[in-house]
Symmetry: C2
Subunit: 695 residues, 2 copies
């Protein structure tokens, strides 16, 4: 009876939630490890005591306590329910420590102790996992920096104690977490919970993202990852979260393509970082590129109401900073729209003539409380949000300006952020605004970046999740491992309903001649040889063959190229002109599995890398989105006097392609490059299929 052994997904999710509840809402906690001065345990006990959590205990061989926290020799001797163990004792003691916890019914642990997989010691880490599972203990770490639950005054960590609030932070790196928490304390951003999960031997980022998705005290989730192991699980967790509240991912390693060995163009361009970009977007999450950026976005989400669109008004009392803010706003794809005629008229009614009545709205150094307030009341009628700058000369009273701004924000209910500069003489104004719920950013450029991310979250398209689908697998009998030659690949595509052109595979000059005549001139001839991957690099592609003589000469020239290699013959196609060349491909990402790519094809493919990715499979809607979002899409849509291409044909082919790695588990990578996009339909110009192990 399988059903009784394997809990249902839902029951499993519930039990996971209860396990994590043990971590964050323990009835009692114990710090296991030396409590002597200068030891980590001592500092932990100090932070726990200073934080104010009452039911804390210490366990170490000397039964030493500290800061009024009592000490015991073992956990079993503690006369109070304990749900959470914080472990800092040396690695060799851990098996016994976990046994002790198990005997005392401690349901969860945070293993701060290091020296496991991060230094290559996988076997001891595996042992910890086994002992913990034996005793039903779920744990964070090892090699982590602790957890925080501000609502419970629970601070078993060495990091800064932030004020309570709505941001939950999940960090693979303790150091990164520490930076964020220190910023939260300095700038008074409230945190609900924090977990540094280190080596993630047991509980992972996936578990925590799901937990915080439904945590009532959390309004925004921030996640710092360096890598993930269960890519699709991570995706499902992000979806679960983003459907309920914003989730911001900080991912390091974004520039390098990662140096993965890959045979296809698609694979080499779909560097793992580009895949992360696609994944995060596909799951409705946001990506931040620095800790500051993530922090700013949190400040925005916590302080401001929903943003309904992308139109931003910039109100300033100094021209230059206003323009710098406008520049940045455009860079992050906000719409620094010009005001309507009606609005301009309204503004000119009460603003002096020397004020700029276009966006940015420059009130000049004479901008007053009343001026700011009236301007904002007017502009917020037609903009979705405002950033308000005050570049204050020392003699200017900033609280009054802040009041004008806050009054307008209150009355309109529209998201309004400020950037008051320079310190320290604008501090009063900043504090006043903060008390009334209007956030200040250290520069207008940072503010607009945060507002843009928020607008992207609130206005994202409602996604479908075709990549969650299961596709029935077929066992294809492809004999070759590695790469199959072009005629084989074309025949495989044909069987699967792809738009393959009429072609001939010829192994002699006479066969080639016959094939060419059959197809009708002009034709294209290409070398077929298992060991020639990049045919054009070997001059193994001859275009525009127009008559019998040219066929003979082409065949012979190609045969010579193939001489030193595994020459098998030539493949011949009709010559196609007047098409736009695009590329399609699938590759397998080590974390996220099959990924589908669409982009500009032909000689400029690798120059401009104008390519877009999705985790596969995709549906037609997503495929159409891809076709329309590459930079070169206007060309497909008929810009520059050309005919518009058949976008549906492209989208259909893309959908089909995205399902191939699921139907054929030994298809590792496929490049279709070029695909000729035509006014009616599309035709595949070249194909490369790379087979791998059966997945």
């Amino acid at each position: 009876m399988i059903a009784t052994i394997l809990p249902s997904t839902q029951a499993f999710a519930l039990s996971m939630k209860m396990s994590i509840n043990n971590l964050f809402y323990p009835r009692g906690l114990v710090v296991i490890g030396s409590a002597s001065k200068g030891k980590l345990g001592h500092e932990l006990l100090r932070n726990i005591s200073d934080g104010g959590f009452k039911n804390a205990f210490a366990v170490n061989p000397r039964a030493q306590g500290a800061f009024s926290i009592p000490g015991y020799p073992t956990v079993t001797e503690i006369n109070h329910p304990v749900d959470l163990a914080i472990i800092v004792s040396p690695p060799h003691t851990l098996p016994e420590v976990l046994e002790d916890c198990g005997r005392a019914n401690v349901g969860s642990a945070v293993i701060i102790t290091a020296g496991y997989s991060e230094v290559g010691n996988h076997s001891d880490e595996q042992q910890l996992l086994e002992i913990a599972q034996e005793h039903g203990i779920r744990f964070v770490g090892p090699n982590c920096a602790g957890i925080i639950n501000t609502s419970l005054n629970l601070y078993p960590t060495l990091e800064t104690r932030p004020p309570p609030g709505g941001v939950a932070l999940v960090s693979q790196s303790g150091a990164l977490g520490g930076i964020f928490l220190a910023m939260a304390k300095e700038h008074e951003l409230g945190v609900s919970k924090f977990v540094s999960y280190g080596n993630a031997a047991d509980l992972t980022e996936v578990d925590f993202i799901k937990y915080f998705a439904s945590d009532q005290e959390t309004r925004v989730v921030v996640v710092y990852i360096e890598s993930v192991t269960d890519g699709r699980g991570f995706m499902r967790a992000m979806v679960e979260c983003s459907e309920q509240k914003p989730i911001v991912i900080i991912k390091a390693g974004r520039t390098r393509s990662g140096g993965r060995a890959t045979l296809s163009h698609t694979g080499s361009m779909a560097g793992s970082d580009a895949v992360y970009d696609a994944v995060i977007r596909q799951c409705g999450a946001l990506r931040a590129h620095t800790v500051e950026e993530a922090f700013d976005v949190c400040v925005g989400f916590i302080s401001l109401p929903r943003i309904e669109g992308h139109r931003i008004a910039i109100v300033t009392n100094s021209g230059g900073p206003g323009v710098l803010a406008a520049d940045r706003a455009e860079e992050v794809c906000l719409d620094v729209a010009r005001p309507s005629l009606k609005l301009s008229d309204e503004l000119s009614f009460f603003l002096p003539s020397h004020c700029a009545l276009k966006n940015p709205f420059d009130l000049t150094v004479e901008g007053t409380e009343k001026g700011y307030c009236e301007t904002l009341l007017a502009v917020l009628k037609e903009y979705d949000m405002a950033i308000v700058l005050n570049i204050a000369p020392p003699y200017l009273e900033s609280v009054q300006l802040a009041r004008g701004i806050c009054d307008a924000a209150d009355q309109t209910g529209k998201p309004t952020a400020i950037s008051f500069m320079p310190g320290p003489w604008v501090d009063d104004g900043i504090n006043y605004a903060k008390e009334r719920g209007i956030p200040n950013f250290s520069s207008a450029e940072r503010a607009v970046a945060a507002l843009a991310a928020m607008a992207n979250y609130y206005n994202r398209k409602l996604s479908t999740y075709p990549w969650m689908e299961a596709i029935p697998k077929e066992r294809m009998n492809l004999v070759h491992q590695g790469c199959i030659v072009e005629p084989e690949a074309m025949s495989f595509l044909l069987e699967n309903g792809f738009p393959v052109p009429d072609y001939r595979f010829s192994t002699t000059e006479e066969e080639a001649l016959e094939g060419c005549r059959d197809l009708g001139y002009p034709v294209v001839m290409k070398v077929v040889a298992r060991d020639i991957l990049h045919k054009s690099d070997y001059k193994g592609v001859i275009l525009n063959i127009e008559n019998d003589n040219e066929v003979r000469s082409a065949y012979n020239s190609i045969m010579r190229i193939g001489e030193e290699r595994e020459f098998q013959g030539v493949v011949i196609y009709p010559m196609i002109t007047g098409a736009v060349e695009v590329l399609m491909g699938i590759s397998r990402d080590p974390q996220f599995g099959p990924v589908v790519a669409f982009g500009l094809g032909g000689i400029y493919t690798e120059i401009f890398r104008d390519i877009t990715l999705r985790v596969a499979p995709i549906d037609v809607t997503t495929a159409m989105e891809m076709v329309q979002e590459i930079d070169a899409s206007p060309i497909l849509q008929g810009a520059r006097g050309g005919d518009a291409c058949d976008l549906s044909a492209l989208a259909d082919t893309l959908v089909k392609l995205s399902r191939m790695p699921f139907r054929y588990p030994n298809v590792a990578e496929v490049d279709l490059n070029p695909v000729f996009s035509l006014p009616q339909g599309a035709v595949i110009g070249d194909v490369r299929v790379i087979l791998g192990p059966i997945t």
Copy 2:
């Protein structure tokens, strides 16, 4: 005798320098305007007095002084030499105030009073200039925020008083200047001199840049501009400065193309901001996109030694932040090179095995003073610079780590910057390092951006300045205004030695037939009509015409297109295949004059905007640089199996083109798009010449 009336350039430069010396090194200064509490004059006197400048006086109708500064009714009555007047009295008083200054032999003035050209009042501003010139007074402003010379304790401004040091700041906006000065004070960056030049009715950014170029107390010059009036003068000033010391330009308005009306492709893509980018680079200056960025670069130049190359070592005690720093470093084009085998060996000798021995060099949380020092000593032998991170847990002593870093930096003499986080518990370490001359940046990302800018400055190519040349003008007798049709333009190019293909202009079907046979099939036929600018948008270009029948049908179809327009005939060329299509163009920038462009041609021109610009004229070296720096250049150089193109032919044509607007003063814009780049030579595929007024 003209020579006696017009001073020589050198003499003029000297007299300019003396005028500005009056400003920054006055024997005495006077503040003219009300000194009553609550007035600007009062605050200015406070700042001057607090700053410590001794020979200050106040002038106002009530002869009121303040803060021990004596008051007089007029400047003439002051019994001490006065070289500088700071004017804040109301606009209507200014003519008399300047007369008074003139009578008292005051050589320079700072006019803070506003209400002139910035609010559209140009006539009063012109009047100020005339009165000042009459009395030999050179002035800053009006509508400015004052000046500073820290070496003289001279602070006639309302902005923050920064500490003395090596940065000179020239700012069009007082507010922007104020932000920079407040940052300088907060972070203890020393400033030599500051000037906010406001409306620049007399002295402009050009004068100040030249002055600071040779100012002994200034080591770095920062300039904030919103616009310039004398573009080429601004360029010459930047060159003069950058040849002696770094100059950093903050320019707002970088995203928008500016919406200038322009008829050519080149013109529309050479938006004024792209021109600023080119100009700044051509003059050896650096561009900063935010005030923070400029500030960071100044900190770097002031604190660190010369940077000899682009190889950066990242040393960290936490993986994630190290990777984020590496990402940013690659983005700003630093080389995060892997260590040599020799270096890896050396490191593995003293670093624990779990440390990452590649770049970033991760010492892990166990990184010690000794570890940091030894690692840096080793890596700085093969890298040009280092950024060192310390992500400190609260219990870690940061001064020791700082000492290790400073010792290594001292011993190697290599530029080394740090980023210690998070505050406040690393403050001691930061201060220690600062005292030993090692700058701290608030994030490693900011540090690497600053280091990259410095490396770019120190390793810039020694430029020639062909745009400074004078070119003899020719008066071309082109009858048409506006745009001339293609055959006329081709003939014009031919006369000037451009690589024009053989072509025929035909006005009847029979003429066209004859022309095509003459040229030899296949040919291209295009419409000629003065009112059709974008021929392909009208389907007025027919490619690959192969026989007489096709000629007839092509001619008739083009004639029909021309029917409703000013149809003049067709132009016929031989069909060129197998070429790479590039574009070349010249346009006129309102500030900088003729600009030459080179880029990718054909249908992707406006999609990828892969284009590079220079202020014209250029020489062959610069032209070759341009040909090699576009993204698509690898295609020209024969990537992907194609033949390499004749780059010299492209460069020669580009040089020729860059001289056209000087030889022909009524040539406003020229587009050569496409130019067919061939293995031997280049051929112009299409041309558009737009005539303008004679310049």
